[in-house]
């Protein structure tokens, strides 16, 4: 089931009569059967978008379609969606079995059939042994799987997950992430997965949607968005460590950082931001490549060495200093205070105008 949002807008009026544009003129098509990661910083409107799709919130403006069918005015009960809440919202007084059975009872599924589907679903999420426990007798990860089972048991047309992994520890998070992906593949239900963790979104999603202040910044396959960010915000939001952003300029069709040439660009002279991914730096001491800096700190973890450096040596306040990171092969013997020369891989370097738009 394809989900289409047209000009979707949600304005909250807060206490002081101030308008909050939580979702701002969003046009988005979520392809059928795909798992989409909805990604953005806290407060950017991810949950609001999800609740609009679910029908728990009513849009201020715009329409929502499931396939050809307009859903804008349909109450949540009739939308046929499964929703996993941020903190699961399992009914605390019901057992796992009752929790999973509840939507089926409401849909008046025949008793034997409902029983069987509950068991099958519990088995799919690996909880068939725990059907008679109450939610509070389960670990966070198990509760989360109950929530998924409850959302999936009615074979919804759309599955919505609101930061379902945020309460889990690192190991469980990885494991559950894989499980969600597996279940989604098996069931082929169109799924929207909300998270503010870029790594999580990148690893689980067929496509990601990056959002900021209620506005969609970019949509595409994770690697494509990473490789070709539409603006500085997206470039900064994806990737760990973050992309390095240098103050630079274009002069005589050359890209300069602090007067050092790092590449070419056929554009009129102007001040720009140069975004360089940490993995874009290639050590080139033999040819004395023109971009060089003094290394402040060297961190070697496993295969990688991270060089930390800053540019404005004259800055008074240490906390004000903008530091940069370069990740290179651990094979290079580099110590703090060494001066190192680099080439920068052109495809890992992105140029932005001073408004943050890609050039």
């Amino acid at each position: 089931m394809e989900i289409k949002m047209v000009n979707l807008t949600k304005i909250f009026i807060s206490k002081g009569k101030k308008e909050v544009h939580a979702v701002d003129h969003v046009d988005l098509v979520i392809p059928s059967g795909k798992l989409i990661g909805l990604l953005g910083p806290s407060g950017c409107g991810k949950s609001t978008t999800l609740y609009l799709i679910a029908g728990l919130l009513r849009q201020t403006e715009g329409q929502i379609y499931f396939g050809e069918e307009e859903m804008s005015e349909t109450p949540p009960e009739k939308r046929g969606i499964g929703l996993v809440f941020q903190n699961y919202a399992l009914y605390p007084h019901m057992t796992v079995r009752e929790n999973i059975l509840f939507p089926l009872e409401n849909l008046r599924v025949e008793k034997e059939e409902a029983k069987k589907r509950t068991y099958d679903m519990a088995k799919l999420v690996g909880l068939e042994e725990m059907l008679d426990r109450k939610p509070k007798e389960l670990s966070g990860g198990q509760q989360q799987r109950v929530a998924i089972a409850r959302a999936l048991v009615k074979t919804p047309r759309v599955l919505l997950l609101d930061e379902p992994l945020s309460n889990l520890d690192a190991r469980l998070r990885l494991q559950t992430r894989e499980e969600i992906k597996r279940i989604q593949r098996e069931t082929k239900i169109t799924t929207v997965f909300v998270t503010h963790d870029q790594e999580e979104a990148m690893s689980i999603s067929d496509e990601i949607v990056v959002m900021k202040d209620g506005v969609i910044q970019q949509m595409g396959e994770p690697q494509a968005v990473y490789d070709k960010p539409a603006n500085l915000f997206v470039a900064k939001f994806l990737g760990n460590p973050q992309i390095n952003v240098f103050d630079g300029e274009i002069k005589n069709k050359e890209i300069l950082i602090e007067g050092m040439v790092v590449g070419k660009k056929d554009m009129p002279d102007q001040k720009i931001f140069v975004g360089v991914r940490p993995e874009a730096f290639v050590v080139d001491n033999e040819n004395q490549a023109s971009f060089r800096f003094k290394v402040d700190l060297v961190e070697t973890i496993g295969r990688d060495t991270t060089l930390i450096f800053d540019m404005q040596d004259d800055s008074e306040n240490i906390l004000d200093k903008k530091t940069f990171k370069a990740i290179i092969d651990a094979g290079f013997r580099i110590k703090a205070d060494d001066i190192v020369h680099f080439n920068i891989k052109p495809d890992k370097m992105h140029l932005f105008d001073l408004n943050g738009n890609i050039l």
């Binding site: 949540p76 903190n87 919202a89 849909l107």
Partner: protein, 301 residues
Amino acid sequence: MEKKNNLRAWLYLAPLLILMAVFTFYPLINAFIVSSYKGYLPLSGTADGIDLFYNYGVILKNPLFKKAIINTFIIAGVSVPVSIFLSLLIAVSLKSIPKLKGLFQTIYFLPYVTNTIAIGMAFAFMFHEDYGVINLILGWFGVSPVNWLGGTATYAAQMIALLILTIWNGLAFKILVFTSGLENIDKQYYDAAKIDSASKWTVFKRITVPLLSPLILYISITSVIGALKAYNSVVGLFGDVKLGAQNNSMITIVAFVYQYKDGYTDKGYISYAAAASIILFFITAVISILQTIVSKKRVHY
């Protein structure tokens, strides 16, 4: 150190303990002692002797006391579940009309700040056979006037009137408690229920009631205790002499206690009153304990 702290704790508790000793334990023990005198006359302070069970035997055989017990049990057995159910429904409905909530809360709260006897008198007017608003409304539906409270009223009619008064009277406090209880239920459960396609009634039955069950238990225990002590409502509706459309037809255990207490100039009457109040005490205690035990299985958390 430990000992000192203990002493201090006792000191803090002392005012309360002393008050309880004077006003709760002493009267209870005293009532127990009085209930064991045979032929006791408080004015002269004389008794024919001590017999632990004599007075209980007398009143348990007394038809008036049997009637008092039956009436009291009917009042408690009907008014408590009905008023809990109604107040839950009202509290839930109030929640869905937040704008009118304040107004309705005031309306529903009026009985709580009004004297029961005054309400009873107002109800007595409303239930009047010829001029009462109840019969007027029933008339619209083609029901001929019912004699609710008059001298020839049937037992059922007067009991129904009494029950309606009792239920109405208890609604306010319950609505208040349930309204604040509802506010403490996480809104997400209701969102989840919507996603799970639950109807309003299912939500009420399967989510609201279970999540409020600790409060419902608390309210049902306190209101059973309150209903077992029913007296004011009877006085308000029928006056403290008649206690019913016919003499004593709506008598309750507490009313029985009052009657015999007031008759203390008759030999042994004060002991009958004491025995009746001890019986009421045990009935209350047993029902409360039973309720707690039964509910343990059904109350969540």
